[in-house]
């Protein structure tokens, strides 16, 4: 008879189709398939996806759906994950006291201090006075340069310039004296006039020295020690930039403010711990460890995090049909990250990297729904449908078909919504663990840290997560992220010229971003390390005997994220020193890390049929 094992996961639905000739004989696998899951897993919305997956499998085997005698459905891991992110700091500039940005091409070089003067008023400035010229866009570069040249000729001590348009280099090239010129200051009208200001431009590939040093600013403006203490935030905000302006205004200031993001109340079995969001991810994870085992999580009402937790609860209540107050959050993963945010009060559309906390939450769902799903599927395809067994056990059974593997075996399923681990030891039932945070969270971190367009408009962050990078250096060669060069005989598509591209199965895909390849690579790897590696360790130590990872022998990575081109290697780096054999599973010796659960469903049914006297 023909049996199909169906595994509905968070992001993909997998099918293993097998022929069992006689009860007790090992199954002969005919075909496998893998399609995207429709809807949230464990709901009737999955049926179209299941149908498509079954159709794909039977077609490969040369059969029809009606040829299948039995469909086995996994008792899906009853967890659903959700993610959110909140920024917890913001930078505010008051009285336009500072311009700190990296225009593409500032002009000139050096540092200048003087009073701010509009370029139109330059001809009434007395000779000998030190000035910084403020040039609006209505003054063309030729005109601005000749005005400054005339003033210099009269003996006015022009020290630098602040320009609205992208004219810095053009003006600098037309002057006899080398002056620092900061350009692309969009809100030039708001630059305070008649105030003492300092302009600094660093050489190519360097960052400013004087204005990012509190004592440097104190020297330029002759500040007292109390005043110097006040300007530390300005100096700090300017670190690492190529050009900057600081204006000395009566009450001007730059503040890095912590946004009152609220707090999380982690309700454990024995105690409840409150963790403030602005304490960052570590504070939350510490609190989680204290509260373990976690029963539920509540956010402070009326705050961002309160809204975030309620949103998760609301989504889950919509999915499961249970009232929101009965939905319990069983795990959270908090990750610190830096996201670019527009600076409040900035004149040049400055961005600063602000602290943010990403939060993944996991909710236990009901088993009941799977039974509804099974009967609905039965009505849809007209084939008997059975619930085949717990997902973790099935995954272990399927993974055991990997060549070279043995018990005690731990598996690690890095999914899209949750990270699951299970362990099988001789003579003991399978123990499993589900944690919040997996592939979707990695995608969110990449998207926010690189400031990419998010879903649903764009899946570029998801693509970056999945594929290695290369820079198209000419139409005939690319440089991979490991710096190796590959040549092409035929010229590449012109849309790739000069771009950072992803190496996908369909060839090179350009990505719409100005970030250099190194930065994208670092963000991608860091996101994976902070979610996948951290959760892998959390999950394995939870299932390992006595909580000791060293007690594990074999660890196999299964699931879609096992296909990731670097995660398995990152895990090997971390776990190999403990003497653990860790690698990507190879289900049935041919399928790689996927189809473990579907294969396990079939194997488990055969086993039961044998021991139970062949009731199939």
């Amino acid at each position: 008879m023909k049996i199909a094992g169906v595994d509905i996961g968070n992001s993909t639905t997998e099918v293993a189709l097998a022929d069992v000739a006689v009860a007790g004989a090992p199954p002969r696998f005919l075909a496998s398939s893998r399609v995207s899951t429709t809807g949230i897993k464990g709901t009737v919305a999955n049926i179209p996806g299941v149908r498509r997956a079954l159709e794909a499998a039977v077609e490969r085997a040369g059969l029809k759906i009606s040829d299948i005698d039995l469909v086995l459905l996994n008792e899906a891991t009853p967890v659903i994950g959700d993610i959110a992110m909140e920024t917890i700091t913001e930078t505010i500039i008051t009285e336009s006291s500072m311009i700190g940005h990296n225009p593409n091409s500032p002009g000139g070089l050096g540092i200048g201090v003087g009073e701010t003067v509009r370029v139109g008023d330059l001809d009434i400035v007395a000779p000998g006075r030190a000035v910084i010229v403020v040039i609006p866009r209505s003054h063309d570069f030729e005109r601005a340069a000749s005005a400054i040249g005339a003033a210099l000729g009269r003996g006015v001590d022009v020290q630098g310039a602040i320009v609205q348009g992208d004219d810095g280099v053009l003006i600098a090239n037309r002057l006899s004296k080398v002056l620092p010129i900061v350009d692309e200051v969009h809100l030039i009208d708001q630059v305070p006039l008649g105030m003492l200001a300092a302009v600094e431009v660093a050489d190519h590939g360097q960052s400013i020295q004087q204005l990012s040093n509190p004592y440097g600013i104190a020297t330029l403006f002759q500040l007292t020690s109390q005043e110097t203490a006040m300007i530390i935030p300005i100096a700090k905000a300017l670190i690492g930039l190529r050009s900057a302006v600081v204006v000395r205004t009566p009450a001007g200031d730059v503040q890095t403010r912590r946004i009152p993001a609220g707090s999380l109340r982690l309700i454990g079995q024995h105690r409840t711990v409150v963790a403030p969001m602005d304490g960052g991810a570590d504070a939350i994870m510490d609190a989680l460890a204290q509260a373990a085992p976690l029963q539920d999580v509540a956010g402070e009402p009326g705050t961002n995090v309160g809204g975030m937790v309620e949103r998760v609860r609301h989504t889950m209540s919509g999915v499961t049909g249970k009232p929101a107050n009965t939905i319990a959050i069983r795990d959270v993963l908090a990750v610190d990250c830096l996201v670019p945010q527009r600076v409040a009060g900035g004149l040049a559309q400055e961005f600063s990297m602000e602290n943010a906390v990403g939060l993944a939450a996991m909710v236990n769902t009901d088993k009941l729904l799977m039974e509804q799903l099974a009967s609905a599927l039965h009505r849809e395809i007209g084939v008997p449908v059975e619930l085949g067994g717990v997902e973790a056990n099935m995954a272990i059974l399927g993974t055991l078909t990997t060549p070279g593997i043995d018990v005690p075996l731990a598996i690690l399923d890095l999914g899209a919504g949750s990270t699951d681990a299970a362990i099988l030891q001789r003579g003991q039932p399978v123990r499993s663990m589900h944690l919040a945070g997996a592939g979707d969270m990695v995608t969110m971190l990449i998207q926010r840290e690189l400031d990419l367009p998010g879903a649903p408009e764009s899946d570029v962050a998801e693509q970056i997560k999945r594929h290695p990078l290369a820079k198209v250096e000419s139409l005939f060669h690319i440089r991979h992220e490991d710096n190796s060069v590959r040549f092409f005989k035929e010229p590449l598509d012109p849309s790739l010229f000069g771009r950072v591209a992803l190496i996908t199965r369909d060839g090179l895909t350009p990505i719409p971003t100005h970030h250099p390849i190194d930065r994208i690579r670092t963000v991608r790897r860091e996101a994976k390390r902070r979610v996948f590696v951290r959760n892998a360790l959390r999950a394995l130590s939870a299932v390992a005997p006595g909580g000791n990872i060293r007690a594990l022998q074999f660890v196999a990575v299964v699931g879609g994220s096992g296909l990731d081109f670097e995660v398995a290697r990152m895990l090997t780096d971390i776990l190999a020193p403990h003497g653990i054999v860790i690698g990507t599973a190879n289900i049935r010796g041919e399928l790689g890390p996927i189809n473990a659960v579907a294969t396990g469903l079939v194997l488990s049914w055969v086993e039961r049929a044998t021991t139970g006297g062949g009731n199939g």
Partner: protein, 225 residues
């Protein structure tokens, strides 16, 4: 109910217009006094032939490839009346602002912007060129491409303004430096085609009448005044 008569409306419009004329010059003294208002009127240039153009060697060199009639023939204005002098000045300023050098080369063998652009790129030390026709159609080209390919094409001359020409120069220089510029934002106007198609054809025919297939490209010196 007072009736709104046509006369009353005319009266109101006349009053508003009178007020606008009063306030307009006072409201924007800066724009009136600027040497190069946004339409580029007042920018003049002289073009002088230097001699046969050879392939450049400097990696910072971006070629501006002029079609036969650009700059010193016909009306010396684009299809929307922007003076060629202002267009060329903005393109060269965009290149200079990025630290590259613009080199202007006149092409005689073709009036096609793509072929002129590609031929210009083959002469440019950086391998990057901007091709431009007298009606204002522009392309950023690279020497390894086929003529009808491009890095960026600006096919709708009627919607290109001086700011866009500056950005075109800037992006070409960024390609020359091996950076990854975002493509220049282009306006789109569905009416541009019906409105300008005939006149665009006239521009092209007149430009083509200057084509001399036997004549080699010439380096030119451009001076603005």
């Amino acid at each position: 109910m007072p009736q709104i008569s046509e006369a009353a409306v005319r009266e109101a419009v006349r009053e508003i217009l009178a007020q606008m004329q009063l306030t307009a010059p006072a409201a924007s003294p800066a724009a009136a006094s600027a040497a190069t208002p946004s339409d580029g009127a007042g920018v003049r240039m002289t073009i002088r032939d230097l001699g046969p153009a050879k392939a450049g060697t400097s990696p910072t060199e971006v070629v501006v490839a002029l079609a036969p009639a650009f700059g010193d023939k016909l009306k010396m204005k684009t299809i929307t009346g922007i003076p060629h002098a202002a267009v060329l000045r903005e393109i060269l300023a965009g290149i200079e602002e990025e630290g590259c050098t613009g080199r202007v080369v006149r092409f005689w063998h073709t009036s096609d912007v793509a072929f002129a652009g590609n031929a210009g790129a083959k002469l440019a030390g950086s391998g990057i060129a901007i091709g431009i026709q007298s009606r204002g159609t522009t392309v950023i080209h690279q020497r390894d491409l086929f003529p009808l390919q491009n890095l960026e094409l600006f096919p709708q001359a009627p919607v290109i303004d001086l700011e866009t020409y500056r950005s075109i120069g800037r992006n070409a220089a960024r390609y020359a430096k091996g950076e990854t510029p975002s493509p220049v934002k282009q306006k789109n106007d569905q009416m541009a085609r019906p409105k300008y198609q005939a006149i665009a054809a006239v521009f092209h025919i007149r430009e083509t009448s200057f084509v001399d297939r036997a004549k080699k490209p010439v380096d030119v010196e451009v001076r603005f005044a």
